[in-house]
Amino acid sequence: MHKNTIISVDMKMADIIHIDLYNLFIINRFGIHLGFGDKTIEEVCKNENVDPRLFVTVCNINNSTKSIDKTDIHTEHILQLVNFLKNSHDYYRKIRLPEVKRSIFNLSKFYDANTEKALGHFFDEYIREFKNHIEYEENTVFPYIKGLCDGVRNDDFSINKFEDHHDNIEEKLGDLKNIIIKYMSKPEHDLHKLDLLDKLFQLQDDLNRHTMIEDLLLTPMVSKLETL
């Protein structure tokens, strides 16, 4: 099966992991556990109290052959999506960022103290900005959405403000990739560079999809809630 296969609720849950490894992360972040045998997406989701429609919409978000349409923007399960995003944040904090940091350390110890400090400092700054960003979402945006669901209005905030809040976190990641690819010229450490680049590309890919989910699903859902 091809990466651009459109995922539907009647497909087997096990099959979609073979279509795109990223679906494994989606399954995990919706709180679904492996070991589902030959059950379909719909069956597995119902067992785990996940809305199957929301689940497949998230799986298809990166699929170029299927665009999001209005019928995908339904708000009744928005808190499941918020929970999904929170779980992604946890994964970044606990797994992705530490593993990049470790790779940077493994590479930079072969360089002079200047470079080692500079790279370490650069990534620490990145981690700080990154954490600020997700904490802003968790402490401001998500509670706001929860409030909307409970019928609480907060006129000081609207989801449009959230859209303005994307900053230069992405640029920093791109810079780090370029530095490794173009300017670190000790051939004997290629394997360490490869390892670091591999982690950076994975992180960036994950973040891109995360942003797409926020921009294409979460934001329109919240806008819809705001007008209710």
């Binding site: 500079a118 810079d175 530095i179 173009k182 300017y183």
Partner: protein
């Protein structure tokens, strides 16, 4: 789509050129001006893909350095629109010329070949920073603002901005902290300089 800036004093010529160019979907005329007032600011802030320029607008002081005077990037093709005599010293600074007798196809052809030329140019273009760019890179890494850099090197803020643009373009590094790492890797500064 390539975004074009036209600087041409005659409304008839400017409008005509716009119509001809916009018949082709790959080009769009985004900005047009009748004179060179504030052209430098426009070039810096809009970053057009192609600049079409009537050489008669160039004053005596700018005749030797059109690109420099108006802060037109080295990689941005500069096209002359010519319907009177100009000496070679001026015309040689342009990448190509559009004549008043050129028909639509010829004009579009010229713009299209231009496009190909520059894409191959950017590939082979040298990525080494000039001495001045290195100096400015160090200043950026030390955390100086554009204004402070301008004062330190007796240059205008616009010049600082255009140097910064070139540094970013050549190195592929966009953030200040990324540029700092670059400067350290290339031994332009030591870690103590930025502590």
């Amino acid at each position: 789509m390539k975004k074009i800036m036209i600087v041409e004093p005659s409304p008839i010529v400017q409008e005509g050129l716009k119509r001809i160019i916009e018949d082709t979907p790959e080009f769009s005329v985004e900005w047009s001006f009748y004179d060179t007032n504030r052209l430098k600011e426009h070039c810096l802030s809009h970053n057009p893909d192609i600049v079409i320029f009537n050489p008669s607008l160039i004053g005596q002081s700018a005749r030797n350095s059109i690109r420099h005077t108006f802060e037109i990037d080295d990689t941005t093709p500069l096209v002359a629109i010519v319907y009177s005599f100009f000496d070679n010293e001026i015309l040689s600074q342009f990448d190509t010329e559009i004549g008043i007798n050129d028909n639509n196809t010829r004009i579009i052809n010229k713009l299209q070949t231009l496009k190909n030329d520059t894409s191959s140019k950017t590939k082979t273009e040298s990525e080494t920073l000039s001495d001045r760019e290195n100096e400015i890179l160090v200043a950026i890494a030390q955390g100086l603002t554009n204004k402070e850099i301008a004062e330190k090197y007796y240059i205008s803020i616009h010049t600082v901005i255009s140097h910064r643009k070139n540094i970013v373009k050549k190195t592929g590094i966009k953030t200040v902290s990324g540029l700092t790492v670059y400067a350290l890797l290339n031994n332009l500064i030591s870690y103590d300089d930025i502590e």
